[in-house]
């Protein structure tokens, strides 16, 4: 892997095997390949019951009555609960706004909203009982888009809003509105030689993690409950769960069970409270496992969006201004909508330098499925639109699209439209140069001595073409994603690090509440401890709520923030160990007092390499332990009128080149190659870095050509809640993904690293769309592209 960036200076630990920078292997790998790794759906307990949720069959309705008598009378059923059975004053939850009822009260606001819950001794018994609950609905008109949401006589999705956004939104069916205004767009428009406009549509994408929502709640003797759960943020769950159970937080214990992927879809609660309620009601352990159908209703999706853009440029290709309006459909509940609005607006012009900007982003309340966090979080939708605009502008100017981007590429020091300077490397032009310089995949790879290999053609195994109608296209895109929680959020993590001698060897134990969702946080956390403490044996303690919050496994933040917390705690442990050494052994060697000391290979050494002592001797029977919180630099909220403010802490940049082959007659697409260049600051684990980039790239491919939750515009009901009709890429849809990793250190971040997980999801989609446009000559203003759009048969 090329490492052309500024080398990061590491003194401590650079000599320890398995430290940062190495492609060490996952500590949970063996368990995962043998089937022994215990995912949340694998939990099992003697005498456990199965929970089942009854969900609304309509999107918007008053609940006239609920009759649970027959369900309760079913043999094998232990409990049936509705809103009226909730035990505490608090009956709602929510990430930022507590607007989501634990069970529907009075009305339902979206298709699939939980109405009642059942516990029984077998999942089939629970399903049959749930089916016997009679709910009478009186249907209400559905709000499905901006026009119906903001119509003068629109039904309010939430009648009595008192949240902190309620006061500044133009309509109660708008969750949050964020303008970003800088410079003078009207004046800048006068300087433009060309202006291009576009209206874009981004479809509703699902995280489609493979491990459906699940967990096991076990009642405890003290009246509390222990929840084994797959989530992205244990402490955020805890904060929302405990009040609804009427329990203090210390009586709700949470342990992270194995997580089968997340991608934002586990940032909100799903079955957590329901399982706990049933466990406390029945006094028995209760397991809930969603099936795939239910999973499509059980978590928020990526906001579908309408985006209206105007870009102006001078004849030599310098951007004069960008005007944009971004309308995100937040669905029935707020979830992370306000923060998604913040990202979409503040990153709405992309990684370009432009002085005059006028952006407005809003999220709607509608009766569509609730939308919230998904990998890329608001920046994805914007990137799709502004990159389409850049191509359109290049075409209008007669300029190479990569050159146009490079000419306007932001650099270190460029001001964002929020007025915030980018204060770390921003190698946007370089990433484009690199991705363009990669060798092109050969033409007509499907041709073989035995005829056409359909597996390498659009349509694949379905045998639709042997080369007829197939046209190649190439497209480029680049994007910018913020790393970490922005807009003044107190974004911190907590690490407890302990060093002691076990079995004659120094061992470090790292305990955090970080949710390992597959990204490999556990791998790099162990690497950090090795580097900082000079030991080879590191135990990663299971994540639970017995240690302070680690914040969310989202926003590409865990390696930065929890990694930073571990590094910090390790530094303190190291100081304490050296202090111990000075006390015990200081008199034996003057270097203890005078030299800079390091921990390496299980020993205390001087910076000159002289060994002073074995850690085993320094530690003896003592254990050194530190628990510390660690924060990245503070950020500020965006001004509600102008959007100005230092809202972000770090950025991540990726560029893609897509090569596609399109069967132009049938409208089928085969992505041949999707090359990516990304700046990662410092690759703590190069193998994992590449894996993240390839995975993120593929999710971007999915929403370019196949993935979309279809909602009926007249009923707001979900039409394709299954893996038969919500398609995600198979291995035959996914091309080779060559990755060029750049490492330009961000001096403000631990080891100079950058959060990496999301950026590749941004630019992948517009690159594929650009390539399809190049192959077909069509305008294509929506994603995903369906065969209908390529054949004029929509």
């Amino acid at each position: 892997m090329p490492t052309n960036g500024v080398p990061t200076k590491i003194t401590q630990g650079s000599g320890t095997k398995g430290g940062i920078g190495e492609s060490t292997l996952r500590p949970d790998g063996t368990l995962k390949v043998t089937g022994e790794f215990a995912y949340s759906s694998d939990m099992w307990h003697e005498d456990m019951l199965w929970g089942q949720i009854l969900r609304s069959t309509v999107a918007h309705a008053e609940i006239v009555s609920i009759d649970t008598a027959e369900a309760l009378a079913t043999p094998g059923v232990y409990a049936v609960m509705t809103y009226d059975d909730l035990p505490a004053e608090v009956k709602h939850y929510g990430l930022e706004i507590r607007d989501t009822p634990v069970l529907a009260h009075g009305k339902v606001r979206h298709h699939g909203e939980p109405v009642a819950i059942v516990a029984a001794d077998h999942p089939e018994t629970a399903r049959r009982a749930a089916a016997k609950i009679r709910v009478e609905y009186r249907e209400l008109p559905v709000i499905t888009d901006e026009a119906s949401a903001t119509a003068p006589d629109a039904v309010l999705v939430h009648e009595h809003r008192d949240d902190h956004h309620a006061g500044h939104v133009p309509h109660p069916n708008i969750v949050h509105r964020q303008p970003i205004v800088r410079g003078d767009v009207a004046a800048a428009r006068g300087r433009a030689d060309v202006i291009v406009e576009g209206e874009y549509t981004f479809g509703m994408q699902d995280q489609a993690f493979l491990g459906p929502e699940s967990g096991l709640a076990v009642p405890e003797e003290d009246g509390g409950v222990h929840l084994y759960i797959a989530t992205q943020w244990l402490h955020s769950d805890l904060r929302q769960i405990a009040p609804v159970l009427g329990l203090p937080e210390d009586k709700v214990r949470m342990t992270l069970a194995g997580v089968g992927g997340a991608f934002g879809g586990r940032e909100d609660l799903s079955m957590q409270i329901h399982a706990c309620l049933l466990a406390l009601r029945t006094g028995k352990p209760v397991k809930i496992v969603y099936n795939r159908f239910e999973s499509f209703f059980g978590h928020v999706h990526r906001h579908p969006a309408k985006l209206y853009y105007e870009h102006g440029a001078t004849a030599d290709g310098k951007l004069t201004h960008v005007k944009a309006r971004i309308v995100l459909d937040g669905g029935a509940y707020a979830s992370a909508s306000p923060a998604v609005v913040g990202n979409a607006s503040s990153l709405g012009v992309g990684p370009y330098a432009v002085d005059d900007v006028d952006i407005e982003a809003i999220a709607l309340y509608t009766n569509n499925p609730p939308c919230g966090a998904m990998r890329g979080f608001g920046a994805v939708q914007a990137c799709f639109a502004y990159e389409a605009q850049m191509d359109k502008l290049a075409a209008r100017l007669g300029m190479d699209p990569v050159e146009l981007r490079q000419r306007n590429a932001m650099e270190q020091g460029t001001l964002l439209p929020t007025g915030q300077p980018v204060d770390s490397p921003a190698p946007v032009a370089e990433l484009l140069r690199r991705v363009k310089a990669m060798p092109m995949p050969p033409e007509r790879q499907w041709e073989s001595s035995e005829g056409a290999d359909v597996r390498q053609l659009p349509g694949g195994l379905s045998n639709t073409t042997h080369g007829e109608g197939v046209v190649r296209g190439v497209g480029y895109a680049v994007g910018i994603k913020n790393v970490g929680f922005s807009e003044g959020f107190d974004d911190y993590s907590t690490a407890r690090v302990r060093m002691e001698v076990v079995g004659g060897e120094p061992v470090a134990t790292v305990h955090t509440a970080m949710a390992e969702v597959g990204q490999g946080g556990v791998t790099v956390h162990a690497q950090i401890a090795r580097t900082e403490l000079g030991v080879t044996q590191v135990t990663i303690h299971p994540a639970d709520t017995r240690v302070g919050s680690a914040g969310s496994t989202s926003a590409s933040r865990q390696t930065y923030v929890t990694g930073g917390a571990i590094k910090h705690a390790c530094e303190l442990v190291r100081e304490k160990v050296l202090e111990l050494g000075r006390r015990k052994l200081g008199s034996y060697h003057p270097a203890w007092a005078h030299a800079e000391l390091l921990l390496e290979g299980g020993k205390v050494v001087t910076d000159g390499g002289e060994v002073l002592a074995d850690l085993v001797d320094v530690l003896g029977d003592e254990a050194v332990e530190v628990e510390e919180e660690w924060r990245h630099r503070p950020t500020e909220p965006f001004d509600l009128r102008t959007g100005q403010g230092n809202g972000h802490v770090q950025y991540s940049f990726a560029a893609h080149r897509a090569v596609v082959e399109v069967d132009t007659e049938l409208g089928l697409v085969k992505v041949i190659e999707l090359a990516c260049a990304q700046d990662v600051g410092k690759a703590l684990n190069p193998l994992s870095v590449v894996g993240q980039i390839q995975g993120g790239t593929t999710q971007g491919l999915g929403v370019a050509v196949m993935e979309e939750i279809l909602v009926d515009p007249t009923t707001a009901k979900v039409r394709n809640p299954s893996f038969t009709d919500y398609l995600i890429p198979t291995i035959l849809d996914t091309p080779t993904i060559p990755v060029d990793v750049l490492e330009l250190a961000d001096d403000h971040a631990p080891y100079g690293l950058r959060g990496i997980g999301e950026a590749p999801t941004l630019s992948s989609t517009p690159a594929v769309l650009a390539a399809i446009r190049a192959a077909t000559g069509l305008e294509l203003n929506r994603t995903p592209v369906r065969p209908e759009h390529l054949t004029g048969t929509a």
Partner: protein
């Protein structure tokens, strides 16, 4: 109803099986073998892939009663299966699943999953770890059973062959590149006799 069949070489019996239960449910919830994963229950993802009388199938689409008297190999028995195959015999040994007490959460090893550690893994299992083909790991058991069978049939598959053979196994984390690397690596190691 009662169902008997052989799992990973060991005769098993499940009682009080509801007639609509799948083989997957019986393996996971009645026999303590949760390695086969339930991700879609409609044959679209391959996470529940097992060998049924040697043939890779989606265990979510096999009615429990249809497994009566059959031989099943799951990911838990894959290492033994590969070992027996290498030795040229047909039967395979067994293994057990995870109870809550055993697995409060995943139990981290002190060390990484280094090559050769323990020597208990089949070539594809080891290759998946070494190549970085495992992220969340939920698709991994099904992919391993499918990939192992692919290499059993075709020891030197082309890339297109690998993609076709694994086209019934969805992965959401990796973008499949490292999975391709892993299968190529396992094939190469096998052909070198490693």
């Amino acid at each position: 109803m009662r169902v008997h069949f052989t799992v990973n070489g060991r005769p098993q019996q499940a009682d009080d099986v509801w007639e609509g239960e799948s083989l997957l449910y019986v393996l996971r919830e009645r026999l303590g073998l949760p390695g086969s994963k339930n991700a879609c229950e409609q044959g679209e993802c391959g996470s529940c892939t097992v060998r049924l009388d040697g043939v890779p199938v989606c265990s979510c689409l096999v009615a429990a009663g249809q497994a009566e008297g059959r031989e099943v190999v799951t990911v838990e028995g894959l290492a033994d299966h590969a070992r027996q195959r290498a030795r040229g015999c047909g039967e395979s040994g067994g293994s057990c699943g995870t109870s809550l007490d055993e697995a409060k959460a995943w139990k981290p090893d002190g060390a990484d999953s280094q090559t050769g550690e323990g020597g208990e893994l089949s070539p594809v299992q080891q290759a998946f770890i070494d190549a970085g083909a495992v992220q969340c790991g939920f698709c991994t058991p099904g992919l391993l059973v499918a990939a192992d069978e692919t290499l059993e049939r075709n020891p030197n598959p082309s890339d297109a062959d690998i993609r076709e053979a694994l086209s019934g196994n969805l992965c959401r984390c990796t973008g499949y590149e490292k999975i391709m690397d892993a299968v190529r690596l396992a094939a190469a190691r096998q052909s070198e006799g490693v």
